[in-house]
């Protein structure tokens, strides 16, 4: 039982929402996507599964790109391309990157700066099905398209959705 699960279970025992939170522990450990519990989010830095931790190899880009709590994924909704043959900023072989997309702003814990992240979908093959991740920081309704993650952005070319990337466009505060 890792730290996050311990925290979640402790809260569950103390909470009137015991039933939900008790079950939520499994979800948060696995998906770490839904920030229902700030304490759970804060404690999710450790390895969240039995998968050997992966890394970008860059200390300035910390975290595991195959997990939902990787810092760039603060507004993502879809299958993580790092789990599908691609990387956090590259599509898997044989797919096409959507030219249109939505963007979010995520804080990099390494330098404390906010970055504009482009969540380009990869298209042309059936849904990857791995590592579904849904986080909605700064997400807005569809009538604010550039800030909405419910839209299938595989449009125009190969229209079938495969997975989603999180590409750094630049500093948000620059």
């Amino acid at each position: 039982m890792n730290a996050m699960e311990k925290v979640t279970r402790r809260i569950a025992r103390q909470s009137s929402r015991r039933g939900f939170l008790g079950k939520l522990g499994g979800l948060l450990v696995g998906a770490a996507a839904i920030p229902l519990l700030p304490v759970a989010r804060a404690s999710s830095a450790g390895p969240a599964s039995r998968v050997p931790a992966q890394s970008t190899g860059n200390p300035m880009d910390p975290g595991d790109p195959t997990t939902c709590d990787y810092w760039r994924y603060c507004g993502i909704d879809g299958y993580i391309c790092s789990c599908c043959g691609g990387t956090q900023n590259q599509c898997p072989p044989g797919t096409e990157m959507s030219p249109m997309t939505w963007v979010g702003t995520c804080r990099n814990p390494a330098d404390g700066k906010n970055y504009v992240i482009s969540y380009n979908d990869c298209c042309g093959k059936s849904g990857c099905g791995r590592c579904l991740c849904n986080r909605n920081e700064d997400d807005k309704p569809v009538y604010r398209p550039p800030a909405n993650n419910d839209i299938n952005w595989c449009m125009g070319g190969s229209n079938v959705y495969n997975c989603s990337t999180a590409v750094i466009l630049g500093l948000a505060d620059a």
């Binding site: 039982m1 699960e5 929402r17 039933g19 939900f20 079950k23 939520l24 499994g26 979800l27 450990v29 696995g30 998906a31 996507a33 839904i34 920030p35 229902l36 519990l37 700030p38 969240a48 599964s49 039995r50 998968v51 195959t66 939902c68 603060c74 909704d77 789990c83 249109m100 298209c123 042309g124 093959k125 059936s126 849904g127 099905g129 791995r130 590592c131 579904l132 991740c133 849904n134 986080r135 909605n136 920081e137 700064d138 997400d139 807005k140 309704p141 569809v142 009538y143 604010r144 398209p145 419910d150 839209i151 299938n152 595989c154 449009m155 125009g156 190969s158 229209n159 079938v160 959705y161």
Partner: protein
């Protein structure tokens, strides 16, 4: 003596059976049908089939039936997040959907309005429309039907935003109307619709009697799409559209006239209750009596608007007062309402993507329905001929597990939650891209009594609540929203040891 009596009874029973003769041949090509008029409390449920979007379907469900056969009345196909409307006048259902000529690798796209007969659920016809309909998570305002049921309106996003107008009487596509800067369609009056705009206004489009554009109007700005946007899921009832906002206000819009009127904009919560916020894939519905039900989360904050909630607040729209709070049995992620009079029901899609039924307005829990295509199979029981069922472990990378260990295990992992896909029983073991070594250790390697022992610690598969959010479908008129099948859920579990 007793043994003799037993034999006698068996012989008598055999004699009765033989007297009836063998079973008679049955006619082929027989089909059930549904009644022309459905009971008020039946549901139309959108099963999005999250991992197989092209295989979505709309289910017809009797939420009060106590057995599975009675609950599941039938289904209609709904390819790629279809949208549902109906006409009582013509006794038809309309599902706006998308097809690809090469299936899961694309090809030529075709969008249709597929027409289904209400009683037979057959599709006698379809209307080809421009290949522009919004592709994304379903919303209950991505299509609309005019109150006279003459025109179907389809929201397009390419990302240019427009509306396709379809004449349902003549079954033909009419025209496309530009709504740039705005999204969705809510019918108002007899020949008009409005859309929600990113600048915080409503765009009102009036059509003529042929369905073509007549004129456009805009409302003054009345909300901030960045600070406190309206959900793009509305509680619709005749003559009214109600939208919660992310922070907890309620916007009521009168849709009886051609020009919609913003009636009220008020806080659902008191100043002390601001941490309670509406949330979910469909956070508000109105029942047949006009009461409003809002799904509320206790710890609302930025980014939590799709999470769902633990309570449903019952609101009198006339007085803008909260009447009661229904504490849900399970965390809810979408609402639906059905029924009339004393037989009104609240339908809550819960975190397991099942439907919890409550009587309203009192909020008494009735039961839970499991209708989505995520059926849990009995834990890997052997097939009828004694052969072990093919079982696969892990979320994605399958490991075939077919062994007497499974065959002889009544419950391999008591906490496991297998899901049945076709004839295969999946036991979700890991969310990870590949089967982890520790998980693989669950696969028995030898057929021996020892190997049949339950592992000391087992994975705890949990159904995918993250998909919850994304996977939920729109619900229809007086129906429940249900979510997709969760065939390969996310998961993880405790570390599993041998």
């Amino acid at each position: 003596m007793k043994r003799g009596a037993g034999w006698l009874l068996m012989l008598l029973a055999s004699a009765v059976s033989l007297a009836d003769g063998p079973l008679k041949p049955e006619p082929l090509n027989q089909h059930t049908t549904l009644p022309e008029t459905w009971p008020d409390h039946w549901l139309r449920v959108h099963d999005l089939t999250w991992f197989k979007f092209l295989e979505g379907r709309m289910l017809v469900i009797d939420p009060l039936a106590t057995d599975v056969a009675g609950q599941f009345k039938g289904s209609m196909s709904s390819s790629l997040n279809g949208a549902y409307e109906r006409s009582l006048k013509r006794n038809e259902h309309y599902i706006t959907e998308t097809f690809w000529s090469r299936g899961n690798r694309g090809g030529e796209r075709t969008d249709t309005v597929t027409i289904y007969d209400r009683s037979t659920l057959k599709y006698p016809d379809e209307i080809i429309i421009p290949t522009k309909r919004l592709s994304g998570m379903p919303k209950n305002i991505s299509t609309a039907i005019t109150p006279d049921e003459q025109f179907l309106l389809v929201y397009n996003f390419t990302p240019a935003q427009s509306v396709s107008v379809v004449d349902l009487e003549s079954r033909r596509y009419v025209t496309e109307v530009d709504i740039g800067g705005c999204g969705f369609v809510i019918a108002t009056g007899q020949r008009s619709f409005f859309s929600l705009c990113s600048n915080g206004t409503l765009r009102v489009v009036h059509l003529d009697d042929t369905g073509r554009w007549s004129r456009t109007q805009s409302s003054p700005q009345f909300f901030d799409a960045d600070e406190d946007p309206l959900f793009e899921r509305a509680a619709l009832s005749p003559g009214k559209a109600v939208f919660p906002t992310f922070q907890g206000r309620i916007v009521e819009i009168d849709t009886r006239e051609e020009l919609p009127r913003i009636m009220k904009l008020w806080w659902l919560t008191t100043a002390q209750e601001r941490s309670w916020r509406p949330a979910g894939a469909r956070p508000a519905v109105a029942d047949a009596s006009g009461l409003l039900y809002v799904l509320m989360q206790p710890d609302g904050a930025e980014g939590t608007h799709k999470n769902g909630g633990s309570e449903v607040w019952v609101v009198d729209q006339k007085t803008s007062k909260r009447l009661s709070r229904i504490v849900l049995k399970s965390w809810g992620i979408a609402l639906g309402a059905t029924g009339k009079g004393e037989n009104r029901l609240l339908v809550v899609t819960n975190g397991d993507l099942d439907l919890d039924i409550y009587r309203i307005p009192e909020g008494a829990f009735v039961h839970t329905l499991a209708v989505a295509a995520k059926r849990r199979c009995s834990p890997c029981r052997p097939t009828e001929n004694g052969e072990p069922r093919t079982c696969r472990i892990s979320s994605n990378t399958a490991v075939v597990l077919s062994s007497p260990w499974v065959k002889n295990s009544v419950v391999p992992w008591p906490e496991a939650r297998p899901v049945e896909v076709g004839s295969v029983c999946w036991v979700v073991c890991s969310r990870v891209p590949q089967l982890s070594p520790s998980c693989r250790s669950h696969v028995p390697r030898a057929v021996s009594p020892k190997s049949r022992r339950r592992p000391r610690t087992c994975p705890t598969p949990v159904t995918l609540r993250a998909a919850t959010i994304g996977a939920i479908a729109r619900s229809m008129d007086f129906s429940a929203a249900a979510a997709a099948a969760l065939q390969i859920p996310v998961l993880r579990g405790r570390r599993c040891h041998r």
